[in-house]
């Protein structure tokens, strides 16, 4: 078991008076191992930046503890935490050039000038900003400022690197290029990083584990694969994955041989009891209302399926996205061939039981993923 770099326990963040102000982060528990890359994923305003700022020491922790290297640090000044951060708003120091801004971060480390120069040159090359090193922050583009700010964080030899949307301003090609380089840079040096991102591809590509947040609450904290295959609740299920998971609320009934889901507009999905394990069936039968989820690429068209009326048929160059009216909602299908369906045409679709995610109708918690219990 490797060493824990960061341990967050029961942390609450209130802006304003405790229990009365804005409750930005709620009872957060999280552990990050040394050398891990964590992606913090969630919609705007869900508390990602607040979390990073508490770890860095710019915002007071309202409740709970934050430990690094086994010491509680939540009351420490930022200077004592040995954390590096790339800010959401870049926050470069205007009177200094990009080079000076990046080198500035090393000032307190008292390295020799030649070492500093070499490190700065490496970072500049890594982030493709060699040509703007002599320019001032006010005279470079947003994406360039963002990379300068990222460079200022990465150059430091800190115990923890906090990167708040470090590549949000970059075009996809550059982002893809830097993603690979940054991952290599972090892993090679054994650094520990938490990065905030809105880009799921980035989270999947970079992170060892993803923390999904919503409304200040950590929804799920797991590997990209687990998050995709076994979403803990309806939020994670629909938030992660492109295009998003199809969800339909359903009533549930069954006999000893069958399991039936009754969707809106009288749509009925009948399965054999053996399509689900005993345990899953037992859990399902305890409820009368559930939410069914299925990933768009898992939806199949097949003879004898349930009818759905095609509303959209888009070829995206490498896959076809089909949206069809289904049970009072929309069912999205992804197919890898170029499909040509007529709008208004009825297709038969089949939801394979092994691809079904079933969530509790009341609290949204996952009940089962295919054959297995959640």
């Amino acid at each position: 078991m490797s060493e824990t770099a960061l341990f967050i326990k029961g942390v609450d963040k209130f802006y304003g008076p405790i229990d009365h102000g804005v409750h930005a982060v709620k009872q957060l528990n999280m552990d990050v191992k040394k050398g891990e890359i964590i992606a913090l994923l969630g919609s705007s305003g869900c508390g990602k930046t607040s979390t990073l700022r508490m770890i860095a020491g710019f915002e007071a922790v309202s409740r709970g503890t934050i430990s690094m290297k086994g010491r509680e640090v939540q009351t420490f000044a930022p200077v004592k935490r040995n954390v590096a951060m790339a800010f959401e708003g870049y926050s470069l120091y205007p009177p200094l050039t990009v080079r000076e801004n990046i080198a500035f971060a090393l000032k307190a480390s008292r390295l020799s000038q030649s070492v500093v120069d070499e490190k700065v040159a490496n970072i500049a090359k890594l982030l493709e900003i060699e040509d703007i090193m002599g320019r001032y922050p006010s005279s470079i583009s947003g994406g360039q400022q963002q990379r300068a700010s990222l460079g200022r964080a990465l150059i430091r030899d800190a115990d923890l690197h906090l990167l708040d949307e470090p590549m949000g301003q970059l075009e996809p090609q550059l982002r893809a290029l830097l993603r690979g380089r940054i991952k290599h840079f972090i892993k090679e040096r054994g650094l520990t990083a938490i990065l905030v991102t809105h880009d799921q591809t980035e989270a999947n590509a970079l992170a060892d584990r993803i923390a999904v947040m919503e409304g200040g609450v950590l929804q799920q904290f797991d590997t990209p694969q687990m998050i995709k295959e076994r979403p803990a609740n309806l939020f994670t299920g629909t938030f992660v994955g492109e295009p998003p998971m199809n969800v339909f609320s359903a009533g549930i009934s069954g006999t000893s041989d069958t399991v039936s889901f009754g969707l809106n507009e009288g749509v009925k999905l009948d399965y054999k009891a053996s399509d689900f394990s005993h345990a899953v069936r037992a859990e399902l039968m305890k409820r009368s209302k559930v939410v069914l989820g299925i990933r768009p690429y898992a939806v199949r068209r097949s003879e004898g399926g349930v009818g759905a009326k095609v509303a959209v048929n888009q070829w995206l160059g490498d896959q076809t996205h089909i949206a069809a009216d289904f049970a009072g909602g929309t069912m999205v299908l992804v197919e890898h061939d170029r499909t040509n369906l007529t709008i208004g045409e009825t297709v038969a679709i089949r939801l394979d039981p092994s691809s079904l995610h079933v969530f509790d109708g009341d609290n949204g918690r996952a009940i089962s993923h295919g054959q297995e219990l959640a």
Binding site: P78, R81, M85, S91, P95, K107
Partner: protein, 285 residues
């Protein structure tokens, strides 16, 4: 670039000229007056053709005022020295006290901080005459009346609120994250204040200091009541030109020219800081 028609340009030029004449004419006239004797000044009709004389300046500098009734001693040069000393030390003290306070008010909002800041500003609202009488009494008890120390103290009523409020605005305009970025790289908050906040707010601090200097320089009432002749600034000292045998316009004019020069020179020198200070908003982010 916007395109302006010739007509618009002409109108703009005329308007600007009018404004400049309106503001500059009194200064220009006083400048002319300072080189004339009382006779040519009071001649009717007034004329701008005259033989310039340096007698007014000579009188001020030597401290000998010749009037119809004889020669008077005036302490103008001493007054000028007092003005410079009082304004410079008052502003310096106000900067030393006010800039850190402004930083604290800008960065650390606590319960009641807004009220305290506002109370400090409200010192500027009260007419000085209102506080003058009790102040005179306190100062007599404390032995502070007619001392430079006491005057500088009272001048803080003028300078401190100005500096506090203006500089606070500049500090608030600096993104706190720029400072955090420095702190997280291993620096104390004090180092951050010195190395990041102060330089970034520099133009604003210069502007506020200049403004406070002008206000201190122009103060009249406090110095009139709280200081005796040898500690009075020029604003009060100029009263000496209203003599029993008439008003010495020529000397008043040259006194004004001499006393306006330092502030004017300072304002011209600091102009670029003022402009820079106003465009500091670009730092926000």
């Amino acid at each position: 670039m916007e395109t302006t028609s010739t007509l618009e340009k002409t109108l703009r030029l005329i308007a600007l000229t009018l404004v400049v004449i309106f503001f500059m004419f009194p200064i220009f006239w006083i400048f002319l007056m300072s080189f004339q004797t009382n006779e040519t000044i009071l001649a009717i009709p007034p004329s701008i053709i005259f033989t310039p004389t340096l007698s007014n300046y000579a009188a001020l500098i030597t401290g000998k005022l010749t009037t119809a009734a004889g020669t008077l001693d005036i302490a103008f040069m001493r007054n000028l020295g007092n003005s410079i000393f009082l304004s410079v030390t008052s502003v310096a003290l106000a900067l030393v006290l006010g800039v850190p306070a402004a930083y604290a008010f800008a960065r650390h909002k606590f319960k009641g901080s807004e009220d305290i800041a506002f109370t400090l500003l409200s010192f500027r609202f009260a007419p000085p005459l209102l506080v003058l009488l009790p102040l005179t009494q306190y100062f007599q008890w404390l032995g502070l009346s007619d001392t430079y120390f006491g005057l500088i103290w009272v001048y803080q009523l003028i300078c401190l609120p100005l500096i506090l409020w203006i500089v606070r605005g500049y500090f608030e305009d600096i993104s706190a994250d720029v400072e955090y970025a420095y702190r997280i790289a291993g620096h104390s908050w004090f180092a951050t204040f010195r190395k990041i906040a102060l330089p970034l707010a520099g133009p604003g601090i210069a502007a506020a200091g200049l403004l406070a200097f002008i206000f201190a320089w122009n103060n009249f009432v406090f110095a009139l009541v709280l200081a005796s002749a040898d500690k009075q600034p020029v604003t009060v000292g100029a009263l000496a030109f209203v003599t029993s045998s008439g008003i010495q316009y020529g000397q008043i004019a040259s006194a004004i020219v001499l006393s306006v020069t330092p502030t004017l020179a300072l304002a011209l020198y600091a102009q670029r800081y003022l402009v820079e200070g106003l465009s500091l908003g670009a730092v926000k982010g």
